[in-house]
């Protein structure tokens, strides 16, 4: 049962030097309770398709798709007001740079209570109590005090926990995490990934994890979509992907992992796969 279904999505950006196609005819779907990883290197357009779902692309972007439905409802035909009822409530998103993703001028408490008050209609007191609960749920110690802190007073890992708390505040059915651990140290990455997986199971939500890191994929995904230069290269469940990658690009990526090195040299992408020439 797909909760999000996208068919033939194309996103084009108008730039000063002409138009640029970031996503080229991509199909993505994610089921309830499923963890989908979208993997790609820089320039693969892996974030763009999800930003399109969220309606977060700049005005220079043109989005076309044969289908883009959430829970059977057409996201493309929806009015902005209808769409906003979904965004931030049923579909939420967290980002790569946790510190920059929080507003430096407001306390983190303000930023989570805002969601609770406006999206869920909680009163001030109730919002505060719920914020404390959520902070506890994402493992922020001393939540009462931390609610009064500003983002710059917290570490990157803690800021990402705050972002996660905000994202799960409305008990969404789909959480999109865009490179949530790239800016963090490995030990913190582990904690954040464990937290996300635990929350995914507890809340029974679908999770789309956008990443460039095969390690993160191996540790989290049920199913994987591999993207390269705006196109889908492969889609498979995680075990088959690592066991028997079908596309040459995936094979190249996996063998470029230093931990898979067998001899003195790492195989490189060009050993497997003729890249399109870059202008």
């Amino acid at each position: 049962m797909a909760i999000l279904n996208i068919r033939n999505l194309t996103v084009t950006f108008a730039t000063a030097t002409g138009s640029f196609t970031a996503v080229n005819g991509i199909d993505v779907h994610v089921d309830r309770h499923e963890v989908l990883a979208i993997v790609g290197e820089s320039g693969s357009g892996k974030s763009v398709s999800m930003l399109a779902v969220m309606g977060l692309l700049p005005d220079t972007a043109t989005v076309t798709a044969d289908e883009m439905t959430y829970d059977g409802r057409d996201l493309l035909k929806m009015s902005p007001a209808e769409r906003r009822k979904l965004i931030g409530r049923e579909i939420t998103m967290i980002f790569q740079e946790p510190v920059a993703s929080l507003n430096p001028s407001f306390t983190v408490g303000f930023q989570i209570e805002e969601v609770l008050r406006i999206n869920l209609g909680l009163s001030g007191r109730a919002a505060h109590d719920r914020a404390v609960e959520l902070f506890t749920a994402v493992g922020i110690p001393d939540p009462e005090a931390k609610l009064k802190a500003y983002p710059h007073q917290m570490s990157g890992g803690q800021c990402q926990r705050v972002m996660i708390a905000i994202a799960i505040a409305s008990e969404p059915r789909l959480l999109i995490a865009d490179e949530p651990t790239t800016a963090l140290d490995v030990t913190i990455q582990k904690q954040i990934l464990d937290l996300l997986m635990k929350l995914q199971e507890d809340y029974g939500m679908a999770l789309i994890l956008i990443t460039h890191d095969m390690g993160v994929v191996a540790e989290t995904a049920d199913r994987v979509v591999v993207q390269y230069k705006g196109r889908k290269m492969e889609e498979a469940d995680v075990l088959s992907l690592f066991e028997a990658p079908q596309s040459p690009y995936t094979r190249a990526l996996l063998s470029a992992l230093p931990e898979h090195a067998t001899g003195d040299r790492l195989p490189t992408v060009s050993d497997f796969f003729q890249e399109e020439p870059v202008r």
């Binding site: 582990k190 390690g215 995680v238 690592f242 066991e243 490189t268």
Partner: protein, 281 residues
Amino acid sequence: MTPVVEGRAITRDYHAAGGMFSKGSTVRALKGVDFQVQKGKTLAIVGESGSGKSTLARIIALIDPPSSGEILIEGKPVDIAARRPGPEMRSKVQMVFQNPYGSLNPRQKVGDVLMEPLIINTKVPAAERRERAQAMLQKVGLQPEHFNRYPHMFSGGQRQRIAIARALMLNPSLLVLDEPVSALDLSVQAQVLNLLADLQDELGLTYVFVSHDLSVVRYIADDVMVISKGEAVEQGSREELFSNPRHPYTQQLFAATPATDLDAIRARVERRKAARLAAEA
């Protein structure tokens, strides 16, 4: 045999400037680190952000002086606080930085980037400088035609090749590599790591390789130093350290590094399935 580089009880303090009413405070970023690297070998320094690994790299590369302790290059103590390292020292120790987008002067053509060390430190005539720079471009896998281009015309991987070429222009014996591949995509990372390995073999280079990524370290290092909060918590050969990490921090680091082997993935998928079934029951 004299190690190419040796550090003895290296410390480094940072003085946070005091405000008008607060006393300046001192932060000790390195708390007495010892190490040595033999010719042709690679020492990997592994740590997370704030561990002091980059501070150490800058000290080894003779950019910053240590607050106390001693750096010896080919057995000779070097004190850059007392005397700026001259051409002789500069020709022995060079560095490659993490961010290939920041480490090349955007207003300097590639050729000038490569020839600058020769102009400053040697009396090599202009024609030969040019020849050497073009030869070096080829050595790192670029073309002589790239000589007159500006850095912004290159991809991240190509820029890192240029940075490596610049570091090699003076024929150094020691190369300090500060996270040289962490800003690169996986496929490009492999190419640069291969290049570094080739160059080491060909030129007999000694590497100090700073990284946060254990999988990269496992691939490239001969010896490993794990550093946390300014202290070298564990040091040893690669085989030793990877087969039997002893310090709790090292173990924690290993536990946190994602496992991409099939058994681990299979086990995780099974666990998840079981949990799902249990939840539904």
